[in-house]
């Protein structure tokens, strides 16, 4: 123990501080010292990016069932017009269409890189945002006391992965429920500000000081976590993903979601071993003045579409190893309300995009909007349990083997999978 700490201290001292003061960049030295300590490969090199549309997106105006006259009867003021009309939906398959604000994603759909799942959602009936988000992130609908999230449980169960502090990353100030749990994960608000703050020279100096202090004096979780922290800082410094410009002429919107996805693309492109990335996009709780082809919902959808299109363009061929999955806690009422908006509903729509997706199709059994087919007589029914969709993505994209362990209380049944990957 003592010897080890002295060796390490000597190294950090000589490699870090002294060489910096001599003007020699120590990065390759420190990296060399860590090489071999962790497996550099393993897993499949695949990434799953989860996008949570918090606030319950109106699936029926995102993916418009324009082939159904009920839709227009129930929404005299906010329906999206049929394809071919002014500001009409962009046809997908003769029955469904994209909201016109999703135009940036239409080429991706037509080329088969994007699939839509409709009437998907939770088996739980709650219309509380908080409960439904919680159920979707823990992956245990109806059960409130689950502590960890489904993405974290995946990482805890599927151990065959390159061991890197960037395996699970959330962009944002807090770790989302979906990524919380026993497996280490990082919440990064801003790549440029990750690590110790201050001017570059002082920052590195102080980082080295803390590293030295933690090196020999600590055991247990504080030791392993601090090692991960310093390694993450070092990897970020070396790869410097924050400096990377989007490739292939991709342009992200200057929105929080655009910034988040740009950072995720940079982390993936920098080959830091990201397996799970998570980003939030808000503003979907459109109770009042939702709008039709224009308005609040259109603006949010446009931000979503521009960002996802830029993300796919940015990663280019790298998208072959990346799947993006959008999700939202529930959908909204079929009928518009008295304020030109929609209230909390049940089933909604989700998007899957990425190289392996069998896109260009709308998946899921469509229950129709007929009153007798509705959930509790008013909302779009759920015909695809979100856990069926999530399991299929976990197994087929990330090589997960045990979806029943990732979703306790759920019996994985491949026959219910949609076959979209």
């Amino acid at each position: 123990m003592c010897d080890r700490s002295i060796d390490r201290r000597l190294f950090v001292k000589a490699g870090g501080l002294a060489l910096v003061s001599l003007g020699i960049d120590p990065i390759f030295l420190t990296r060399a010292a860590y090489a071999g300590r962790r497996p550099r490969s393993g897993g499949r090199g695949k990434t799953l990016v989860c996008v949570f549309q918090r606030g319950a997106v109106d699936g029926l105006s995102m993916i418009v069932p324009h082939g159904e006259s009920r839709y227009y009867e129930e929404r005299p003021r906010i329906a999206v017009a049929r394809p071919g009309r002014a500001n009409g939906a962009l046809d997908l398959d003769g029955h469904f269409g994209f909201h016109p604000a999703l135009a940036p994603l239409h080429p991706l759909y037509r080329s088969g890189g994007l699939a839509v799942v409709h009437a998907v959602g939770s088996p739980d009936a709650t219309r509380s945002h908080f409960d439904a988000q919680d159920y979707m992130e823990t992956g245990t609908p109806g059960r409130k006391s689950t502590r960890d999230g489904w993405l974290n449980r995946h990482m805890a169960h599927a151990r065959d992965h390159r061991d890197t502090p960037f395996r699970g990353v959330a962009i944002g100030p807090r770790m989302p429920r979906a990524l919380r749990g026993a497996a280490p994960a990082l919440a990064i608000d801003d790549l440029r500000a990750f690590g110790l703050r201050g001017r570059p020279g002082a920052r590195d100096r102080l980082t080295a000081a803390f590293e030295e202090m933690y090196a020999g004096a600590t055991t247990g979780l504080l030791a392993t976590s601090s090692e991960e922290a310093f390694e993450a800082v070092r990897m970020l410094r070396a790869a410097d993903p924050a400096r990377r410009s989007p490739a292939h002429g991709a342009e992200y919107p200057a929105s929080p979601f655009g910034r988040a996805m740009r950072q995720i693309a940079s982390l993936i492109a920098s080959d830091l071993g990201v397996e799970i990335a998570f980003a939030d996009v808000g503003g979907w709780d459109t109770h009042v003045n939702q709008g039709a082809a224009d308005g609040q919902l259109a603006a949010r959808l446009n931000d979503l579409a521009l960002t996802l299109a830029a993300f796919a363009q940015d990663l280019g061929e790298g998208m072959a190893d990346v799947t993006v999955l959008t999700m939202s806690e529930f959908g909204r009422t079929i009928a518009e309300n008295g304020n030109g908006g929609t209230d909390h509903g049940h089933g909604t729509a989700m998007l899957v995009l990425g190289g392996a997706t069998r896109g260009g199709r709308v998946y899921g059994r469509w229950p129709t909007l007929e009153v007798a087919q509705r959930f509790e007589g008013r909302d779009l029914a759920v015909t695809t349990d979100f856990r069926d969709l999530f399991s299929e993505v976990l197994v087929k994209h990330l090589g997960g083997t045990d979806p029943s362990a990732v979703f306790p209380g759920y019996v994985a049944d491949r026959r219910r999978w949609l076959g979209l990957l």
Binding site: S5, R9, L17, A18, V20, S21, L22, S128, F130, D131, D134, K144, S145, R147, P165, P173, M175, R177, R180, L186, A187, F194, G195, L196, R197, G198, R199, P200, A202, R205, L206, A209, F210, E212, M213, Y214, A215, G216, A217, T218, L221, L222, S225, S226, E228, A229, A232, V233, H287, V288, N289, G291, D294, G295, Q296, A299, R300, N339, G340, R378
Partner: protein, 558 residues
């Protein structure tokens, strides 16, 4: 955010001045000096430090000496009687927080007004894209104040054990501040339900939380009605609609009102509260109950709801919603048709159940003794529970006087939560929260936004939940910022408890004594000396050393 400007100065001192070679030479020379082992602490001193770490938010400068003068065991006894401890500093700070003087009704009015204003704004700006969030408004300020009150009490209150217990029950009976009307119900829940009973009888606390509007709304019991039950207003409305001839427009209005009422009307049992009551509040997940028990608990509690009128939200027992049949919970029959009394009987029964005694006692031991507490202290707590009918003060006393609590292997064995880390760091440097609401935000950024844990488990007590790479880096930033006097929300004392000296060995010793209570490992002492040696300014060296000490592994533990 926590931009540490002083680090720029540090960088100049370290990397700019002097010949690099010389600096390295000094380093090695210093490294050769053996660490001065601090004088052997007395047994009593170590006990005092342990007590202050666990029943308080860490020692302030001079606290250990105070406890030694008082006597360690006597200090514990005094802390068990918070009502006898004067607390003027905390009271003076809290006096400026408006939220603590507002009733739930007043706060509710502010909340509802703002809701209305927001909707109106949305209506007016139909076509405008979503705007940036508005600057902090009345409600946000009040809730910010309420979060700040937690940190202020943790740092300033002399009734430290009491504040620790309030934090414990706040998490045990967690309510999420972000869910609907709990935004304005939570302050009165904490002030009126939790705080007055934090060292009282568990049974009273349990019943008070069960009938609190905040809990009834949070865990949906207000939504839970006997299957088929219907509120009398709805029945009346439907009858009137059927019987009386109405003109077209009136009929349309009545129909839409009816439809709205029907949509809002709770349907059937909601088991959420029943399940968490058994799993989290009383018996524990292994407490020996079944799904059938959960259903019958939910049936017993049908009718325990809330009544909203003119801005106020009150508990109401709704006869029409109550299940009138007999129920059986854990083999015990609850006779039919006794309305609200069934629920009170159930809660008393649960509060005295052996599984509850053990489960809650074990949770207290996780807080006070160890993440994986040994049986001895759990037994001690459970016995005291049985003996006193669940007197929390006696249960806590039994745990804190058990041999396990004092066992050397449990000292320094628990990692601090973000709240504990921030409060103890501010206390260690003799600081205080300033007049802003920023210190609570620091705790939030470290991963524990106060009252904002959505899950009914409350914030966890285990180190796995708090120690991770990102969180540690954030703690280092906060440690350095506090040391540099640049942490948002922290007012440092005019005279630092650590005197400046150019004798860096003495400086390190002082930091080790004041901040770490002589707890620094030999390795940490060596590193601190090496780091200080490269800095010429004694004042900067002091800042760096305090920052390193607050960020050290030793300080993350308690």
């Amino acid at each position: 955010m926590l931009d540490v400007v002083i680090l720029g100065q540090l960088a100049t001192v370290v990397l700019g001045a002097g010949a690099p070679g010389a600096s390295a030479a000094v380093t090695w020379a210093r490294a050769a000096v053996p660490a001065v082992v601090p004088a052997q602490d007395s047994v009593e001193r170590a006990r005092a430090v342990h007590l202050l770490n666990r029943i308080a938010y860490g020692p302030r400068p001079g606290d250990v000496e105070l406890v030694l003068r008082t006597g360690v065991d006597r200090f514990l006894e005094l802390q068990l009687r918070p009502e006898d401890i004067p607390d003027s500093a905390a009271a003076a700070y809290l006096a400026r927080l408006d939220v603590l003087r507002m009733s739930a009704r007043e706060l509710g009015r502010v909340y509802l007004e703002q809701q209305r204003a927001r909707r109106a704004r949305q209506r007016d700006s139909a076509m405008a894209p979503r705007r940036a969030p508005t600057p902090p408004t009345g409600m946000r300020r009040y809730l910010g104040e309420f979060q700040q009150a937690v940190v202020a009490r943790a740092v300033l209150s002399e009734r430290q054990l009491y504040e620790v217990m309030v934090d414990f029950w706040t998490n045990h009976f967690n309510v999420f501040l972000g869910k609907g009307i709990d935004r304005f119900l939570l302050p009165s829940y904490i002030e009126g339900i939790i705080r007055p009973r934090a060292l009282g009888k568990f049974e009273d606390l349990l019943i008070a939380t069960a009938r609190s509007p905040a809990m009834l709304f949070y865990l949906d019991n207000a939504q839970s009605v006997a299957p088929g039950a219907e509120p009398p207003q709805l029945r009346r409305l439907r009858e009137r609609r059927r019987m009386s001839p109405m003109r077209m427009e009136r009929r349309a209005r009545a129909d839409s009102m009816l439809a709205r009422l029907e949509r809002r009307m709770p349907r059937g049992l909601n088991e959420n509260y029943a399940r968490e009551l058994l799993e989290l509040h009383t018996l524990g997940v292994d407490g020996g109950y079944s799904q059938d028990d959960i259903i019958d608990v939910a049936r017993i509690l049908t009718g325990w709801g809330i009544d909203r009128r003119d801005g106020g939200v009150e508990f109401a027992f709704r006869e029409w919603a109550h299940d009138r049949d007999a129920k059986v919970v854990l083999g015990r029959t609850f006779r039919a048709g006794r309305g609200m009394d069934e629920g009170v009987e159930l809660l008393r029964f649960l509060a005295r159940h052996p599984s509850t005694m053990r489960f809650v006692s074990a949770k207290l031991c996780e807080r006070f003794v160890s993440d994986r507490p040994p049986d001895g202290c759990i037994d001690a707590g459970a016995h005291a529970w049985a003996r006193t009918g669940g007197d929390i003060r006696e249960v806590v006393r039994a745990i804190l006087t058990s041999p396990e609590f004092w066992a050397p292997e449990h000292r320094g064995a628990k990692v601090k939560t973000p709240l504990e880390f921030v409060a103890s760091a501010v206390r260690a440097v003799g600081g205080a929260p300033d007049t802003t609401l920023a210190l609570a935000q620091v705790v939030g950024r470290l991963g524990q936004p106060l009252y904002l844990e959505p899950a009914p488990t409350g914030y966890p007590e285990h180190e796995e939940d708090w120690v991770n790479a990102g969180a540690l880096l954030q703690r280092f930033n906060v440690a350095l910022a506090i040391a540099a006097g640049r942490a948002p929300g922290v007012a440092l004392p005019a005279a630092s408890p650590i005197a400046i000296t150019t004798d860096y060995d003495r400086l390190v010793d002082q930091v080790n004594r004041v901040i770490l209570q002589h707890g620094a490992s030999a390795h940490t002492v060596t590193v601190m000396r090496l780091q200080a040696a490269e800095i010429t300014s004694a004042s900067l060296a002091r800042t760096l050393l305090i920052g390193l000490a607050l960020g050290s592994a030793e300080f993350q533990r308690q």
